[in-house]
Symmetry: D2
Subunit: 507 residues, 4 copies
């Protein structure tokens, strides 16, 4: 509605009331103007009404929504299904152009604005979350692994001779595959055990660089957020090494935005040494559906080089999700989530500690890991791996998701490379264990239910074990059988050497 | 978005593209302005995008959606459930005020505009559909029966002595109850048989007026749309009688807007005689959910009197539905529906005619009825009513809805008045029959499926009958049994003397 | 999805995971089963996913959603606009049948279930809220006033001689009109002043009954929730009088469900005396859009008589809203809202008390009113009414909704009856005042903003007054002018004798 | 609702009606079962009600929607915004696992099923559209360019020595970049002019293979759908060459699914020679939002290799869109769209032919191109390029989207490679021209509006030109100025050598 519309409305209902309504409209417009002018996440979240109005306004700026448009191209934003059009708020043209995923689309001014705003909002949040000197970033509609691949592919053009990527080991398939897919050979640096923690072996990193020659190395690929007992890499020291040897440094910060510690490491690393880009998941940090990542860096030029490396247009869906989410939370809402996550981590730690002691186990001491923790499963493990995996399986069928049991001695080959002690980030970690994490959005109820169910499962597995040793077949039997079947099925499914997510092993 | 917003947007993406988007916005605004200024149904329907934008714009004019509102009253448009808020496009305040259902609400300029627009749109359509001289109308969130009651209650204040309502018989409960509920005594005028048609007995109407005395008569209550073989009342003649005796005249035009014949009768009646108000269903004429009606008349003052009679606020839901529907259809879309309905009626008639002849029945000749037709069930009826009701039941379970079998000899008491031959609008109609109607929105496929299933059911009932007479029990038996059970259940449910909708008897 | 569907799914993804999903489905089904079997509001609210699944399941039981349906009737639930169909979750057939608004529709099993469930849920809440012995109730898609009219129309058939309704005065138009519209003559019983409170004049009630003769009286029409300084009627005593004189008793409990005091009065009244029906607003008590009411009573038979009095089908929209709302809140959620409202009332009272003292006014002592309170405006009023109405106007333009200033000496004629001191429930209340209420859903922020803005407005009005007396024309002038214009416009609009809602006078 | 639920429902409303509703449910379930069992696109489209029910059923199988789930992982499908959750139908977990984008997720059986179904549906459509012997395919949430990159990255592991990709020239940036991004050097094969058509230079392809050595060549990268006057590559012959030299062959079939000719070429190529994979856009062929592609091939094993190359999970959004779209269209609906597109191409051709003759231009004879056509702009071009680009600019501001003017002599450098005559697929195409295409979903109205506006613009440009030559400055001037500004702005934006999409040059 513009002024003329309101004037017309005044002829139908009392002008005083229409003017009041018009005034009210202005407060929505004011919020939108602030957003567009400042390019920052509003402090207080917007209500749904303002968000939807804003999206609607943007959408009608796209040519597919022009009332008088005629399309004679091969890509006109036509949609066959009304359900589909609506769920995308009628943004159909995606983001970017053939030349650059960050480019403006002449046919789609609204989608282009949406894309710019998405990038500005997440940039603001990255700063607020601790990486104050980040220069630029963009949302890419690919998950973390593929986004890392894109970074590596970009570096290739700058370092044509390079074949290797130095990579302190972390047992997560897509990190490893991101390098292989890009066509490079990962050089795995085994972690060192410090107390219960697995930490970066700085000496070995430097030794490998010398051994292979800096020019042959595409980059160092380090990791912040990870499963305990591994802890975030020593980023500051690694960044200094990279600066010294003039080697690019890409950080996998998958779910690290939610942790001030991880963000601090990146900020410090960039300050004292070299970090070229850091990549984080949209879904894991911003509570949106899987499928997007943020590629960020400390040089505008390099970030733009990466965005220009993406060939063609891309889905606007992750950008749209993060815009809706951040506008509805506001920066205050997001900070609140960060604060609650931290509190929930303390609560989870103390509860797992208590429980572990009851069961003659212990909470591993991994104080450098701010998100994930681990509880030993030594007593289960004394007999066979089977009890450990059965625990995972039981948790899965009892609707505990994300808990992950890690037995000893798994051997797994990923893209041709064989990992001993797979899933534990080390060839020979001293004990089997169970992981749990306090991620953004976790509720107290999650912790309570988890502790309760874990307690039950531990008791049940133990009983089962003692029964077995007594040749006893008992009450909970049919359930157990089912659990085991699930486990076996899962094994077949994944061709894993021993285990699988179906057993709650990974998440 | 206003100019400042667009200007801010130009800093983010190319000004040329933003300006193109801004231009595009103007075409939506233009449509809205035309609507508000002219107060007429647009010729071409709007697309969903414009409709939703418009509704969104209106909604933010309501105080419950003001960003800075504080509410300290007992009715502040608060909503507990987001699902509910959304499905009403955040219009929460309903329509009207304690004094008048058509009044403007200071707290809700948007809802008030919506209400005005709803009334203007339907007024435009009533004119376009044939009642050119209609003066005013309003949407009321009650179905036809209760809306008629409201008309009668309004007349009471003008005719304090009146006790009776003259009513040419039509066998539909809510018409009858509308008078009883209002506290009046219906004076039933039996129809006369002309050929196959049941028509208004004008002489008897006039005789009754003389007998009871005009002052004692609240009004004449006539009907247009009805089930064949009854046909629309002779409105012109009735209107002249009303004018002559100075008796108000209320027309039940339930689903008559869709028929140019019905609308023409009203237009003519008002021209040559007296019609005070005519009432029509929203759902039956405009393809919206059940629950609203339009009260229209030829005097602004009287229509407003009725709207002021409604005590308190009311649901905006039917108004919202009709606004969305008419904006999406446009007047051209509505006219197209009217045209298709007429064609479908011809098609239905010819198909039923053919089928009836195949089964030694006939299509009753009821050419004055433009919507409903009837096919005799003489051959079924020759044995028992049971075969007739069984046909209804079979059609029901075969997902034919709206077909209605009318056996002979039903006696039904409604609010104390006993109707012989109930459902057939006459004490002794010559034969049992089946009704079908071509209502707005009917598709060719409806007719085809109906004819196919009716054919099957007729064959099956006949076979069954012959089996019965031969003491034969056969193939289709279990199905038949089920049908009969349904029938019996239905009987118990409704305390009808003989039959019920469950048997497909009514619709 | 049924078992076969899941089995088919198992061929596509691992059976273990499908089974887990199937198991998860069962927990939704379990909630639905409990609801259908027990017919009570679940203790814990359902999440949106379960609610939408449930509504979807019900909707596909309606014939308009049958995949193979063919419709040949005049009312087949066809919908022209997809937007409309969706917002109603594809429930198109409304509720009830021509005979009875509570009746089951053969064409619409799903809508019928929805209707039953709506009635069961609100019945459960009425009990929980304090009227433990309520026998039956139903949701009617009309606001409170028209619902009261329906009750009176029902009583007419039981008391054909009756002309009068005894009505302790409450200055709200639709209450009064509900009686006039039904065709009865309200007999206004003036309230008596007890301290600051206006209370029921029991003696006068009894005197009037004797004077008019019980047989000539349709019923007593009393009120619970109302604006201070009026307080809820003395229901127990009135109920005893009704029992003694064998007069029906209808209670207007408009927004009383949210107050345990109001509900207790009804429960006690029914226990010791006679209450036939009590009527409450859906929107004011359940935070849904305007347009529905609940008619409840202590005799199944009488409640059903009322529901059978409604001629024809009706909108399912209010029933749908209340079902969604109560399922999402659960009874615990609703109880929490009740508790918060009570707390907010205390907070509002204490804040208004403080503020009034700062401005040399006082919080009127109206302890029998659990929802609304009043603050005197004596100092403003000493000069002219203009200052009082100007305060109302200023609050309105400052987005305070629901505050209501009541000047002295307004004379208003409603449906032919002249009320002196209109809006104050008394011919000569001692002082002008301002109302505020703590209604369900009110937030602390509402109170805070209200107090802040009221403070500002009071200061501003006072300054203005002193300026006027000094012939001074000053800073805030243009604003004031605008306020006054609004007031005048409002006056013209409504033809009120002096004032109007636009001035914040009513809400 | 399961049987128990229905039984419970029968206690509330008549069992006969509930049973009818239960029966109706079964018809939805039946459709779902057929889909899951056969894994084929249904012939007739489903209605929205069935689609939404199905999606809802799938979604509740995902652990984030389990009512009793507790999550203690780092990725639990939590969603901060209700708007976001709803628009994804509560599918939050995306598709795939770290190992494989096609893998089943234990936490998300519903999402996994959705993903499988998406792949099955598009496979069915690829076959139906003409590539009958396709073996396998999958939906990938990246646009065509990045999907091609993924194919090349997969081949790298099979051909470690290879550096080159043989590529018959097509002037579209993302095709070219897809190879560069993957780290390969494109070897551009210039097209040969046959009549007006630009066609594959088979001899040069073979010569280059010999020159470079087959082992050094990663693959041949050919193209089907393209802008006229280029026509689809000679796939059969190319496929034979690939087979002969044992070189992989990847086909860019961007918008070729909609053309039976393109699909036939692929089918034939695979039959007589070698095609390893062909890649097509989801949005351009299936009328969904930008962001997805289908990678398909003739060997299960190779397609799976590609899917395993994608590191990590991915967005389910494109899969969801294509499932909704294909279920709502049905295969018959899709075939109808294909048929209409073909008809519209004929209509567009004949209209452009007529128009071009009126303006002394001609429709280029490019009969091998089934989608795009070109009209010469010789008369405009005779003076300067400016008139040509101005035409593009004018069409853009007149809301003609997708029309593309191609002036002569543009030089553009893309990723280090310089293209002469860029946009025209040839160093020296004989004339400037304008492209238009008939893509799926095009309406007759698009053609009509296009022809009308093009006619106007052509007249206007010509008038302008004659004015210029006469030193005349006239009526349409301000408009022209604006058009030119837009052009210049666009130039600055894109750093293109001469022109840009803002001028309607590309689309």
């Amino acid at each position: 509605m513009n002024c003329e519309n309101f004037a017309a409305g005044e002829r139908l209902v009392s002008p005083a009331y229409v003017r009041q309504g018009c005034e009210a409209r202005r407060s929505h417009e004011h919020l939108i103007r602030l957003l567009l002018e400042k390019g920052k996440c509003p402090e207080d979240g917007w209500d749904e009404s303002t968000i939807e109005l804003f999206l609607h306004e943007l959408a009608i700026m796209d040519s597919n929504n022009f009332l008088g448009n005629c399309g004679v191209g091969e890509r006109e934003g036509r949609v066959a299904s009304g359900l589909v059009a609506r769920r995308h708020y009628r943004f159909i043209h995606g983001i970017g152009r053939s030349g650059d995923i960050a480019a403006v689309q002449p046919k789609a001014a609204g989608s282009s604005l949406l894309n710019k705003i998405a990038n500005l909002l997440v940039l603001d949040i990255l700063r607020l979350a601790g990486v104050r000197s980040v220069a630029d970033c963009f949302v890419v509609p690919m998950a973390t692994g593929m986004s890392l691949t894109l970074c590596f592919l970009t570096l290739r053009h700058k370092r044509p001779k390079a074949k290797y990527i130095i990579w302190p080991r972390i047992d997560q398939k897509s990190c490893f595959k991101s390098m292989v897919t890009a066509g490079f050979e990962p050089v795995v640096i085994e972690n060192v055990l410090e107390g219960d923690e697995l930490r970066t072996d700085l000496k070995e990193v430097e030794a490998k660089i010398k051994e292979l020659g800096a020019d042959n190395i595409l980059c160092l690929h380090s990791t912040t957020s990870c499963f305990a007992p591994r802890v975030p890499d020593k980023l500051e020291e690694l960044a200094v090494i990279c600066a010294n040897y003039d080697i690019p440094h890409i950080v996998n910060n998958a779910y690290g935005v939610q942790s001030s510690k991880c963000m601090h490491l990146i900020q410090q690393g960039a300050r004292v040494g070299r970090i070229d880009a850091f990549v984080q998941s949209l879904d894991k940090n911003f509570m949106v559906p899987v499928g997007g990542a943020i590629i960020a860096g400390f040089s505008d030029a390099f970030v733009q080089e990466i965005s220009k490396m993406y060939p063609g247009r891309a889905s606007a869906s992750p950008s749209l999700d993060v815009v809706i989410t951040l506008l509805s939370l506001g920066s205050n809402g997001y900070k609140k989530l960060l604060k609650e996550r931290k509190e929930m981590f303390l609560y989870l730690s103390s509860e797992v500690k208590k429980l572990s002691e009851l069961h003659n186990e212990r909470l591993l001491d991994t104080s450098h890991n701010p998100i994930s923790l681990a509880m030993s499963l030594t007593t289960l493990d004394e007999q066979t791996n089977r009890a450990v995996t059965q625990l995972g399986s039981m948790l899965f069928t009892r609707q505990v998701s994300g808990a992950r049991v890690v037995p000893l001695g798994i051997v797994q080959t990923v893209s041709g490379h064989t990992f001993k002690g797979f899933m534990s980030h080390a060839n020979n970690y001293p004990c089997a264990y169970l992981n749990a994490a306090s991620a953004i959005g976790m509720k107290k109820q999650d912790v309570e239910l988890f502790i309760k169910r874990l307690d039950k499962c531990l008791k049940s597995v133990r009983k089962e074990k003692s029964k077995e040793s007594h040749g006893d077949s008992a009450v909970d039997n049919c359930n157990i059988t089912e659990d085991v079947n699930i486990q076996e099925m899962a094994l077949n499914l994944d061709n894993a050497v021993v285990l699988d997510e179906g057993n709650g092993v990974y998440s």
